[in-house]
């Protein structure tokens, strides 16, 4: 394998790997936003999921159980958020943002209590890359496409499932109606509150799982900066993907490619300062949602508008 080929292989493979967690979070967020709730709290939920899965895996050593715990913690935390968004009718941006600060406090407090001697961060059991027979031995695309962990394929599967549920089922129709025109949905017999709770809880489950994905398939240990804006990037991917799960998958891979560029350029030695390369995914996300490419017209009409049933 020559140098250029090696570069492409590591870059592609890392692109897909890094796209996984943000895509997962973005899929869940699509449900929340389609129901009319902008859940900014997925950043904090991811952090909670990451810590929960790390601690679970530290004590049990079982990766699937740890992933399940991350999902449950995500759902549980978002019961509170859904109550704030839907029942209290607090400003969604404010509640989500303050929730993120709250989780930062909770996570560092709990982590320090659970791991008092954190001189050297402890590593834990992880998901390993699957090597599919025949497919992984294809040149270039083989190791990149077919050398990912099972969580990556699961996430892709969930993207198709999300698309089906959102556009081909009654539940999906009711959910979208609650985000487009809640009053009309209500008179058609849809419980808007229930749909919005459902959307928020789905985004909580997905964000918790995305946190678990980060720990169990990518990093293998926990630090407080593990999420560092990936939840916010997922929010950007939802916009760039036009609130559509499959388009979000494409957007997430574009984001992953930007993020991976910095990794693979560092491996191959470059004089560009690493911090400027690290800023690339954020800058690309800013450009993607800056309105240069439109987008306002297709967002759910009742997004961020609390619904009051008379």
């Amino acid at each position: 394998m020559n140098g250029a080929q090696a570069f492409v292989v590591t870059w592609l493979s890392a692109s897909l790997g890094l796209a996984g967690p943000v895509l997962l979070a973005a899929l869940g967020e699509t449900f929340a936003e389609r129901s009319g709730v902008l859940n900014v709290g997925i950043e904090g939920t991811m952090l909670l999921g990451a810590l929960a899965s790390f601690l679970a895996c530290h004590y049990t050593g079982m990766v699937w159980i740890s992933l399940l715990i991350a999902v449950l913690v995500g759902v549980f935390a978002n019961v509170f958020l859904a109550w704030m968004y839907v029942s209290v009718r607090a400003s969604q941006v404010v509640a989500g943002l303050v929730f993120n600060v709250l989780t930062l406090g909770i996570v560092s407090t709990v982590y320090r209590r659970a791991m008092p001697s954190s001189a050297a961060p402890e590593s834990i059991a992880m998901f390993h890359p699957l090597h599919l027979p025949f497919l992984s031995s294809l040149s270039v695309i083989g190791p990149a496409l077919f050398g990912q962990t099972i969580l990556f394929y699961l996430t892709l599967l969930l993207a198709f499932a999300a698309h089906f549920v959102l556009f081909r089922t009654h539940f999906g129709l009711a959910l979208r109606a609650s985000g487009e025109n809640p009053a009309a949905a209500d008179s058609a017999g849809v419980s808007v509150y229930r749909m919005r709770y459902a959307g928020t809880l789905i985004s909580g489950a997905a964000a918790g799982m995305a946190g678990g994905y980060l720990v169990l398939a990518q990093v293998g240990l926990f630090r407080e900066s593990i999420v560092s804006g990936q939840g916010f990037i997922a929010l950007g991917i939802v916009i760039f993907g036009r609130w559509n799960p499959l388009k979000a998958a494409a957007a997430a891979i574009v984001f992953g490619a930007c993020d991976a560029l910095q990794l693979s350029l560092q491996i191959f030695g470059t004089r560009v300062p690493p911090q400027l390369l690290l800023a690339l995914p954020y800058v690309v996300t800013i450009l993607a949602i800056s309105g240069l490419f439109g987008g306002k017209a297709v967002q759910p009409a009742a997004l961020m508008r609390p619904y009051v049933k008379d």
Binding site: R112, I233, Q275, I286, I289
Partner: protein, 373 residues
């Protein structure tokens, strides 16, 4: 007959109701946090005494509380200007970093032997304020431009811009501005550029006065000046503002410029007043705690000062607690954010009305009924 608890059609907005619901929410947050102290095998009552004694009952500690209050208050004031103008800006962490970087750079280039040479403080300070304010204002103004001209979402763009600013800072302190040594930081800024200390025996510096002056100016802007009125109308109802002949886009840009400038002044105060050098991680979440302060002060510029003093003091107390009792200072993050969330939730209580008189009547009736039996 009036029920004991009655639902109102609209929430009451009497100051008394607002004060009691806020206090109730704060007490509830303290109650929840008390359990966390138990989790750390600490007596909650003594922990709370420790949390509030150092920052508010000792002269030295109160000086530190004032030092922490200033950046929080400035960021909260920026939040108020932008949010009341209908611009949900969340990029104060980034503005703080930009302001700190710009003024630290200015201090480094005006030191002895540098390109410009030393400048007396009475000249340096206005220069630093001007440069910091303009840098932060333009930084936030870019986001407002994306919203006003392109229709982008300012909430997300401003959140992303925080990370970009922090990475720019990391690049500068580990590259061009780095001092020899193991840590990514600049060298100590020249003493001549430090903000003078204002209270003898404490570390309280002139940044406190800057924060107080800013609170007064923002209050004047929003309450007394036609421009502030136009900003608030823009925030309340953009289409009504447009019909009234207000240039909404320009007001939005102006609000963002003020907000970013105030956020950058917070960074300036921190770097010239207390850190005296620029380093990685200088912001440490202050941009978000400042927003929380503004929310708790219900976007009122004068209420910002006591609220920021309370929150700044709590962080001083938390550090003392961490040193003495080994309770992590992150516990105050929980207390501070939970308080705001519960304040939001307790707003629902203002829909209800208690009729104590109905209670009295009912007791008499039951007594009468009992006697009749």
């Amino acid at each position: 007959m009036a029920k004991f608890i009655e639902r109102r059609l609209t929430p009451t907005d009497s100051p008394w109701a607002i004060l009691t619901t806020t206090a109730a929410a704060f007490l509830a947050a303290m109650l929840v946090t008390a359990f966390l102290f138990l989790f750390y095998d600490a007596n909650p009552l003594r922990a709370y005494v420790a949390l509030f004694h150092e920052p508010f009952a000792t002269v030295r500690g109160f000086g530190y509380s004032l030092v922490r209050m200033s950046p929080l208050a400035l960021i909260a004031l920026g939040t108020i200007v932008s949010w009341r103008s209908g611009f949900s800006y969340l990029g104060f962490e980034g503005c703080f970093v930009i302001g700190a970087t710009a003024t630290a750079w200015l201090a480094l280039v005006t030191s002895v032997g540098a390109r410009i040479g030393p400048v007396p403080l009475f000249l340096f300070l206005p220069m630093a304020i001007f440069l910091g304010f303009a840098a932060g204002g333009v930084w936030a103004g870019l986001v407002a431009f994306a919203r006003a001209q392109l229709g982008g979402n300012e909430v997300l763009i401003s959140l992303m811009s925080n990370y970009v600013a922090i990475l720019i800072l990391q690049y500068l302190v580990s590259g061009p501005l780095r001092a020899p040594g193991s840590l990514p930081e600049t060298r100590l800024l020249p003493r001549a550029t430090w903000l003078p200390f204002v209270l003898p025996g404490t570390r309280a510096h002139a940044g406190v006065l800057i924060a107080l002056a800013a609170a007064g100016l923002v209050w004047m802007l929003l309450q007394k000046m036609p421009l502030g009125y136009e900003l608030i109308v823009t925030g309340f109802n953009p289409s009504a503002a447009r019909y009234a002949g207000i240039d909404v886009k320009r007001r939005l840009l102006l609000a963002a410029f003020f907000a970013g400038g105030l956020g950058a002044l917070a960074g300036m105060v921190e770097v010239l007043g207390s850190q005296h050098r620029l380093m990685d991680g200088i912001s440490g979440g202050v941009g978000f705690v400042g927003i929380i302060v503004a929310l708790l002060a219900r976007l009122n510029p004068l209420a910002v000062i006591p609220t920021a003093l309370l929150y700044g003091g709590m962080s001083v107390g938390a550090d003392a607690m961490q040193r003495r009792a080994n309770i992590p200072s992150s516990i105050t993050f929980i207390l501070q954010s939970l308080a705001v969330l519960l304040v939001l939730a307790c707003d629902a209580l203002r829909y209800y009305k208690i009729n104590p008189s109905s209670l009295g009547r009912r007791t008499r009736q039951t007594t009468a009924g009992w006697v009749a039996k």
